[in-house]
Each structure stands twice: as C-alpha cells, then as structure tokens.
Symmetry: C2
C-alpha cells in the first residue's frame, strides 16, 4: 500500500527550515511495510492545502500531515482541515486537560491561545499529545486515512511512536518489502561500483541495490520484494555474505549505524578507553562519540587544542616540532596523540590537525591538508589527507577518516 | 513568479536521507525574488517523474530537479528526462573534458561509467560541474524552464551559486517580496506571542509575521509584499525598531545567524578570548564555535571533561567538591569555568555539566538537570536548568543556553 507525507509551513518554502520530519516519518512507515510514494512541502495556504489533499487522497490510502498546528495565527492547518472535511471546531475535554497539565507542569502561564488549542474538528478522532499543546487528528475520506500531527519534531516523534504506528498496524495490512543497509567507509562510489559490478550482475531479480554516499559513510541498501518476509531476509543475508568477501574490511555495520557508534561497541567489547586531541575538527569528534548514550563507559574526554600554545602546554607537543614541521604535520599529530594518551591515561587516542579552510593555506600546504594519528600502546599510525575547500565538509570528512582509522586499528 | 523543487531518490522515501537540498535551494531562489510554491520528493520511478513534471510545469515557470544523476544504475533521471523531452543522449565534449579533469586531479581510476557521465540529452543546455562528474541540464517546455542538478550537496551548491542563479536572474523578472529574520533566544513561543500581541495587531497589512522555534534559536520572520523593494525594507525596519523596545535583550542578530556566530562577532569587537570546559555537551559547544571560519582569532580551545578524573586532574575541580556536591552542581561548574580560564589563559570561559540522559539520573537529580557557568575576570555566573529526557535535544539546548548566557554577560 502507498502513503504520502505532506509538510505544511511557509518556513519550508523560503528555506528557513529543513524538513527533517518527513525522512523520519518515512522510515517509521517503511518499517511497518507502508511505502511512501511522495513527500510534498507546501505553504500555509488554504487553496494549496486543499489541492494537495485532493491529489494525495486520490493516489494513496494514507496521508500524514505535519505542521501548522501552533498557537500563533500564521498556523492555519486545523482551521483548513475543519473546512476541508466540512465540519466545525468543538472543545475536546481530554485535550483541554492535556493542555492544562502540560502548561502547569512547566510552570508556564496559561493563556487564551492555549484554550484555542483544545478545540478540534468534530468528526476526527483525537490523538493526544503528551509533549505539547497541539493534539493529533485522524480523519477518513473515501478509503483514505488522513492524519494531522504537530511539526515540532519531538512531539511528532513521540505521537507517531506511541500512538499512530500501533493504530496504523491495526488498520492496514502491511506489504512484504524488506530493506537492509550495509554501512561502509573508505571506498569511493565509482570504485565501489567497479568492485561490485560482477556481484551486482548475479543478484536475484527480486533484489535492488542502491548507493548513498555522504561524508560520514557510504551506505549500500539492498531491498527485496517477496511473498513472505523470511524469504526476503534470507535472500538479502545470503548476498551480504558474498559482499563481505569482496569489501569486508570497509563494512563497519548494518542498519542505521555510524562510525562513532561502531567504535563505541568495539571499545565496550575490549573494555578499553579512548581520548581525543582535536585541532581543526574543533570538538566534532568528541561530540560524535558523546552523542551515544553510555559513551562515558569508554570515553575519558578530549582536548580541543585550537591554538599552538595549547598543543604545546597541555598536550606536550615540542616547541621545536611546531617550529620545524608546523602545526599541520606528521610529527605534530603523533605528539598530540601520544600527549593526550599520556595525559588522560586512555588506551587509545585520536589526534587531528589540519587546515579546514576556506582560508589559512600556509607553509606551502593547501587548504584541506589534514594529518590524522591514532595511537595504542607502542603503535602510532599517522596519515595525511588533502580534502577540498569547504570548511564544514572538511571537518566532517576529517572526523570520519579519524574514526575509521581508529576502527581499522582496533579490528 | 512561482517555482517548484523536485528531489528524486528512493533514499528520500524510505527515510534514509534527509532532503537538505530543497531548503537551501528555496533560500537561494527567495533571495532573488523567486517564490517556491511546492517541494516534492519522489522515487526513482519513470512514471512518477513524468507525472510530477507534468503537474509542476503546469503550475510554475521554473522547476528545479535534484538527484538521480550518479554513475550507478539505480540513477535514472538523465535517461528519464531524455525520454520526457523526446530527445537522445549524445556525448558532450566539454563535459567529457570536465569528467577527465576531475578524475585525474583526484588520482582516481577512469572507468566506463565515467564516460557515460559525459553523455547529455541533445536538446538541453549543459551546465558544467567543476566539483563532480554529473553535469547540470537546462530544458524549456511551454514557458517553463526545467533544470536538473546533481544531488550531492556541495556539487549542487557550487553549480547553483556560480552558474544557475546568474542565469535565472537574467532569464526572469523578480518579484517584490522581502523577508527579514530576527533571531532571538530565551523567550518561549507562547510567551513571545503574548508579549508581542499588541505590536502584532498594529502591523501594516502588507506585513506577515511567522515564528520558527528550535533548540538553537527562536526565529521571527517578517515578510513584506510591496510595489518596490525599498518601501518593503523601510516598513520592516520600522517595525523592528518597535520590536527592539519590547524584547530587545533577547534579540541576538538578523538574518541566518546563530548564537555561536553572534558571540564570535562580539569577541572580535572586544578583542577578547574564550575557552570552554564541557562535560555533558561533550564537545558540541567547541564544535559550534569552531564551525565559524576565523574562530581561531578568539577561541583558544576546550577541554571535554567526560570523566570526573579529568574534571579534577586537568581542570582542578576539588575532590571535595565532587564528593560533597556531585559533578552536576553549582560548585563544580564554577570550579570548571575558573579552571579552564586559568589553564588556557582566556578572558571568558564557559562550563557545562549535566545529565544528558536518557539514563543516568543520580543524587536525586532527574535526567535533564544541567548546570552552566560563565566566567569573566572576577565575575562568575552559574545557573541550573532542567531539560527533558531526550539526549540529543538536551545537548543542543544546553549548548544554546550556555552560549546565550555568555552573550548576555558580554553585552
């Protein structure tokens, strides 16, 4: 069966807000076997909402809407849906209670806008919101279910996970498409296409392969349509075994996993610890590692050594090294890695020093030049990379390369 | 005039990739006075691409497409456009040269897939790509311009900025909608709606106000439609002057600026420096500060003190303080802030210690409890917050609160 997602808000169309909700919603729907055929973002405009709903209801059995439910006047979704489904707004006592509770728990002031939030269209089923003041609404038209949700990500996510997904599983029969994602790092897209061309040729017809490159990882996705899900799963697992023989070392995980998560798992297995010394990545590697709940088990901490003084005084890089070789050099990153390992008493250490750009080319080294070292006991490995000219991309790629160097040292 | 954006790729519809391109493109179009009426994401499916193009060409004078131009077989956009515009693929010598140059510069291997990349539909105008192997394509149908671009963000962005935007400015007349964004922090959405209700009532009819909340900032956007752009600008500036009198302290900037950027500007003005000691934010504050090009002028560096040992041994927090008050306490963050200021010799310092969650509630302190301190000379301010239960949101809000506390101390 097919579904569509409609996100409503002027901010999406002037580029002020990136629509992160749709991808998240699409993933949840796919997990329960509901395909998404289209995602549409439109403005807070009654005519355009009507037109988009007409078209979505014609092609899909499920339409999920986010946005336009806030307490301010620019939000028109609730009013528009009331008109679209030819009904009226009435105060819902459950919602009124939720709104009051929510306001009181946060010691906020209850105002007349909050009372408006408790009004809902008469002919919808209310989906209660425990994390905010805008209720969800479930409508039906012809054979299509239309659901409206708030756009604030954590309100929407809690509502989807706890309420809507179970209701959808009850209401619809799910199909038999299965996806499995293989996470790799260190091989470029076109090189991967070459290395995997023979394997790809022999894939059963029911299997589809897609590549998804990014600075953090190269994802391969295998999809399988089959009569029953177990067969699909077997087909995919069978092909992954063959894949491992071709690009095994580059594979660091399956499903929506990142390098910093994979590294955490390895460190927990080994019961060993990590510390990080960052210059050009400016704290990004530490941030990635600590984004994982429970990372305090293996991550001791880091030093962001943005100035040379800190490299010298805190990490113990020799003045002589900095003068002779510069801050972006093999010698410096090796001394940084050994320095942080000694200082923080960790088993492993990562260090990075580079020219993130867009300015800052020096000592005959172009923007993008980056040295990375990883250290463990007596073993220290250092490597030089030359990335591009975009600061944000360079920081992201340097962080991924560093994490992958550590991973390869550990396996 | 109106435009539409179409993003093509299965990965968007199964939620594997967030469509960040559309927001960026929409912003560029709005900047040159082209409104976006709809953003549509669809799968790599010929029928659906045809159908979406038909509908977009009917309602808009400009259609921008990204995606499906990669070297692998799952990418069908070029083939599909060739069929849609009833033409054939021919090798373009300029593109062939670009592809060869690109491959050689990166010491990658040139393969037959790369030669395929040099083929383009006969009846399009080629837009050359200096950052990748997929060329852009400019088509016309009826009175609509249709442009296809690669989906890799930095390739698309360079192509838009350097080639497409100037071509569009030439080709179209721009309209007279003006937006101005006011960045605020520290007042909640519904409280803001109350404080600004009178001011909002008296706004001229040509002005529209929208609120855009996020953990990083609360954006207010004023839009004005007027006969000429100068009048619109004057109207908006006039209202902003009134706004300043109501919520002046909460305003930290205009346009697409973030707290970490605003702070950088203040520090450059003052010619003073900053260092950061982070526990629960795990490097995120350092990362934000160093994401700004030129931040080495005022940012000395940071310490990520994830373990208590590091708080004690590196930052000099007293053992007694940690035992008596715990790591998440007023005393600890004050000693952390003073410690990093002394150690790094900075003028200002920020420190954060909290329970990011979802687990880790301790000493009777619930998940989300966070202490933040900012220090300058003899002045140290510390404040306690209780955020929610979501780790990523808590880290983002704690980072923003810390940056805003520093900003308010500096102004």
């Amino acid at each position: 069966m097919f579904s569509e997602i409609i996100t409503i808000g002027d901010e999406l169309l002037i580029g002020q807000t990136i629509d992160t909700n749709s991808a998240w919603i699409a993933k949840q729907l796919n997990n329960i076997g509901i395909s998404v055929r289209q995602i549409t973002s439109i403005a807070d405009s009654k005519e355009h909402i009507f037109e988009t709903l007409d078209s979505a209801i014609k092609s899909s059995e499920l339409v999920l809407i986010t946005g336009g439910l806030g307490p301010t006047d620019d939000d028109i979704t609730k009013k528009t849906l009331t008109e679209y489904f030819d009904t009226e707004l009435i105060t819902n006592l459950d919602v009124l209670k939720d709104v009051k509770n929510f306001i009181e728990k946060r010691s906020l002031k209850y105002n007349k806008r909050n009372i408006e939030q408790a009004k809902v269209p008469k002919n919808c089923n209310v989906i209660r919101n425990e994390n905010g003041t805008a209720a969800g609404m479930w409508f039906s038209k012809n054979d299509t279910v239309i659901i409206s949700m708030p756009a604030v990500p954590f309100e929407m996510k809690a509502m989807m996970t706890e309420k809507i997904i179970p209701l959808l599983e009850q209401h619809f029969n799910t199909s038999n498409v299965i996806h499995k994602t293989i996470q790799t790092f260190g091989i470029s897209e076109s090189s991967l296409a070459e290395q995997l061309s023979q394997w790809k040729e022999q894939l059963p017809k029911s299997l589809k392969l897609a590549y998804l490159p990014s600075p953090e990882r190269m994802q391969l996705r295998l999809s399988c349509v089959s009569e029953n899900k177990n067969d699909g799963k077997k087909n995919i697992d069978n092909e992954i075994e063959k894949l491992k023989k071709i690009i095994g070392e580059a594979i660091f995980g399956y499903g929506n996993v990142f390098l910093h998560e994979a590294i955490g798992d390895i460190l927990i297995d080994k019961q060993e610890t990590l510390a990080v010394a960052e210059s050009c990545t400016g704290g990004n590697i530490s941030r990635l590692i600590t984004s994982v709940s429970g990372s305090s088990k293996y991550f001791i901490g880091g030093v962001v050594a943005y100035s040379n003084d800190i490299k010298e005084q805190i990490l113990g890089v020799k003045k002589d090294t900095l003068i002779k070789h510069g801050a972006v050099s093999k010698q410096t990153v090796i001394e940084m890695a050994n320095g942080i390992r000694r200082l923080y008493g960790s088993d492993y250490a990562i260090s990075v020093s580079g020219i993130a750009g867009p300015g800052g080319s020096r000592d005959g080294k172009p923007v993008g030049t980056t040295w990375i070292a990883v250290a463990y006991a007596e073993k220290t490995v250092a490597k030089k990379y030359i990335f591009g000219k975009q600061r944000d991309i360079n920081i992201r790629i340097a962080s991924s390369k560093a994490l992958d160097m550590l991973r390869r040292l550990m396996i």
